[in-house]
Symmetry: C3
Subunit: 430 residues, 3 copies
């Protein structure tokens, strides 16, 4: 690694404003108000629980207690990138040095965090300090979007309730309440989707989004089939796995219909196994499956050739498959580095692959997936550093590579700007 070149590249890339195309930030209380909020992020609770099992769970409702309980366990995860994110928050936002993170300092750390983060003006300061210019949110169909600061926030519709939640009675009742009538026909579902899109588009909708189960198979499914499935639910029957799959395929198509009608992208997050770790912390019970292919999306991508599909994958084993899909398919766009694949080794490999074979206008560099604004900066830094490493390597290779023209610092920065600014802006139609 050429440290000087990486540093120069990183520092230049870091001057770019942050466009964060996928977060779980709450647009109305977007930042943590104390370090307990930060430590409640599942990355910390799950690593702490994994390092030293917390029987009975953590005291989520008491930020002080949570801080006190988590702090001694942090020594066990000091090696992790997630700990590095925390230290960046500590240094940059709280002015607390890493060496101060000792269990006996919990009160000092907590009080200091409240002093900084507890102020009403904190979110705005954080946004300015971190140069964040656009934050995409994750919204339920019935979220109240009125009054959302659309100068900064872009609502995105989470589609699980329509696709994988339909056979959960409470989800169906929620949809019925939203629609103002019981969900009895496929038409009712289409109406609910359409009403949702109308509302979201009126508030500057970013895209429709869904995280999909391992090996979901999309396909054409007749409306009669959908009706039959719905009738079974109304009659109180449970779906077989095949029926769940058929409904999901039908509903994916209906979301794609709406994306087409309202000219919005459909952002896929492919391949998660939900609720597989029984003793896990909240949001820390999901894993992925290395046996997972994008094959099942052929129908969706082909049938909706005019819909843009940014795609993030959870499994490292799907990395080249996504790259290949984006290489030839005009409507598939690699999007960021998601969750279990969101760490240096796998980020770096996928950056290299995408830079080498995917058209330069098609990759969306990164999103933070953050629950609070506070995490955006450290997570983007992790990505930007890997990007700087890969670009430095590319510059050095170009000097001796028999097939390459010189790849200059300016070329490298232009590439970074495409990944971080131009591509997300164009692909998502900002």
């Amino acid at each position: 690694m050429n440290g000087a070149l990486v540093t120069e590249l990183y520092e230049r890339i870091d001057t770019l404003p942050i466009i964060d195309i996928h977060t779980h930030v709450n647009g109305r209380s977007p930042a943590a108000t104390n370090i307990g909020d930060i430590l409640s992020y599942h990355y910390y609770t799950e690593l702490a629980n994994s390092a030293e099992f917390q029987d009975g769970g953590f005291p989520y409702n008491d930020p002080e207690a949570l801080t006190r309980v988590i702090l001694p366990k942090l020594a066990l995860i000091r090696n992790t990138v997630q700990y590095d994110w925390l230290m960046t928050i500590s240094r940059e936002y709280l002015g607390i040095d890493p060496w101060e993170w000792q269990p006996e300092n919990w009160r000092f750390i907590f009080d200091q965090s409240v002093e900084v983060m507890g102020r009403a003006e904190w979110p705005e300061e954080l946004i300015a300090q971190s140069n964040i210019t656009r934050v995409f949110l994750t919204n339920q169909y019935d979220d109240d979007l009125d009054g959302l600061d659309t100068a900064l926030y872009t609502p995105c519709l989470r589609c699980e309730p329509f696709v994988t939640g339909m056979d959960t009675p409470s989800e169906r009742e929620g949809l019925a309440t939203f629609l103002g009538r019981a969900i009895r026909t496929p038409g009712d579902v289409v109406s609910a989707i359409d009403r949702t899109f109308q509302r979201f588009v009126a508030h500057g909708m970013g895209y429709a989004a869904i995280s999909t189960p391992t090996n979901l198979a999309t396909s054409e499914v007749a409306e009669e089939t959908a009706q039959r499935l719905l009738t079974r639910l109304v009659e109180g029957a449970a779906w077989t796995p095949d029926e769940r799959q058929a409904w999901a395929a039908w509903a994916m198509n209906r979301i794609a219909d709406a994306c087409r009608k309202y000219d919005r992208p459909f952002h896929l997050m492919v391949g998660v196994n939900r609720e597989v770790y029984a003793q896990g912390v909240p949001s820390g019970r999901d894993l992925f499956d290395s046996v997972n292919s994008m094959r099942g999306y052929d129908h969706l991508f082909n049938a909706y050739a005019d819909v843009r599909f940014p795609v993030a994958v959870l499994a490292d084993t799907t990395g080249l498959e996504l790259t290949a899909a984006a290489w030839i398919r005009h409507n598939v766009y690699p999007s960021g580095h998601w969750w279990y694949a969101n760490h240096p080794t796998d980020i770096a490999r996928e950056i290299r692959r995408r830079l080498d074979v995917v058209p330069g206008n098609k990759s969306i560099g990164y999103f933070s997936d953050a629950y609070y604004l506070d995490f955006i900066l450290p997570k983007f830094r992790m990505y930007k550093f890997e990007l700087a490493v890969v670009l430095a390597e590319r510059m050095e290779r170009s000097l001796v590579h028999p097939n390459m023209e010189p790849f200059s610092l300016d070329d490298a920065l232009a590439m970074a700007e495409d990944l971080l600014i131009h591509n997300p802006t164009r692909i998502l139609g900002l």
Copy 2:
């Protein structure tokens, strides 16, 4: 990266003549005659189509128009290794500098390309300039091989018609025409295969080759089963997926029988999903599946212990599986880096694995898969550079590694020569 060492290694490796063990070159019109031919290569049409959808397709039959249409889109793929290949062709063969590749220069580029490539002596010049000494072809069973320049070209039999094409009526009719009688019995198919091998062997046959669908399973299949399947086709019935699989397994064995009889290798290219991208350009509609194992080849490798199987894999997820197979199986030989796995990141990883655990006499370094001779040089350069990087790294590691003897420049070059010259020559019986 030690740039000076990589350069020295690369330059020394680049003096080796090129033996290209798999191409789609047409032995009778082996080189492009203008830049339109070059740009019609699916790597350019598919990337251009992916970067900016070309509704209605490209004007393949009009090289000038194709050049005019593709050129503006090339700016979008300037980051790719495929673009680097093009620039190498441009610089080395056409004398056109990369900065001249502007849409408004299309006429100049086209005319210049005709001036160079349109000459009758161009193929010979290209071959001499690029130091190409052997080119394996991809031939249909009924290709006319008479007059083929076997001092340079080695015909190889493509076996899909016998294995995966049998239930396509036009393929069956073609075989019947070739055989001189309708295909009614397994014996007819065996006769067609045998007649084909006889013809090919008489023209210096390289090997039998096939690209196989994802998760093909080979097995022993009784002749009666094959007869029953064929009868169903003759009666106009369609095969179920299981029946297609059974036929493929039977036919793979029959190809292997012929390989044994005529002492020729059977080159497998494992794991492609054909025609999955509906809006794709010609030859740009296929993808691969990360869920793909070599498990299905156990029968073939075991039952034909005396047949050599060079194997290329399409999925990165099959890379170590191939390495492990070549590590213990005496008749499996890793062959090159194919298609979606044919880019620097995945090439480098597989080179490292193969050099570390596969016997040194078993790996075939590279093949170009080129459609015109013009692509052989840039593609081999891409490989040779990665090889130089890996060998340089090995030299540097050997200086400090507690388990390694010094690995000298001469050792490195000997290894490169094994991969690029000695192994393909011996394994393929040149």
Copy 3:
């Protein structure tokens, strides 16, 4: 690579004593007695057989003949890490220089090896010279453990006979002999397991261990089902694949019951296809399947939340899946780098992943899987070198990384000590 830093790190790491948590060493004749023993290790016979097929097999019962036959083939595997291990043994233990490994020197090499290794004091000298302080063994349930030197050796119970061997009559008879009565009921099997654990625990048992077939699925299985399966066997019927799977799931739970009762870990080695290469040498007939997920272990990990599961995986495609499991699951511990994944490229990638996202107290760095003590040193060196490379890289990154604190040489060494000493000691309850 910063050669000086890597060397410094390696040399410091190499001063750590070796705790080897998985071997196949025979506690009573733990070291090779001549070079023929060394060359009979399947890594050499399989690579030699792969490089140049040995029809009729090797003369395993005649160490001199074996040496004579293998030696000429070694030239073909000089590129491999396995050859590097051999040269380390040659240099460090036998005082024979690598250049002396010529076929015509076979007698000299053999005699020299006997002179060193044939002495009664050799095992002790080797252990002292190599600084080996703890060696875990692989034992059958009926192994005689009396007199085992438990100051050095830790017996571990291999569980295949109970889980995947039950439908092999000879295995069942062996168990009956051990138990003193025929195996007729699930209770008989539980009794055999319990008696085994009692014996092993009395001799300082390390853990229960099993290598599992590809895509094993654990689940709750009723005792009645187990009874029905056993009765079928007793009646002479053969199990279907589903029945084998059901038995395996039932038996895995019973082993885990015993691990819980006796407070011992259950070490899993995941994903091997046994006996797939028909012409393979002994122990050289197994491969792995890239299509293999840890999904099937969800039940086991959840139902036995209080049992520790060190896990090694055979497929590279399971590497991140294991990392993710260890990241969130409190009772899953990544353990070493196994067999086909035990080579530099895949070791280095998994070290990086584990260091970046798995709590620092959870990874067991390495085990040798050695058949003789002689292999422990070279194999650990291979690992330690990759570890030094990764740690050096981490130190250099920390100097310029925007999210990282300085990572000093002392930090790096502490991390190495956790992986090689503290974690195995604590996780395995030494």
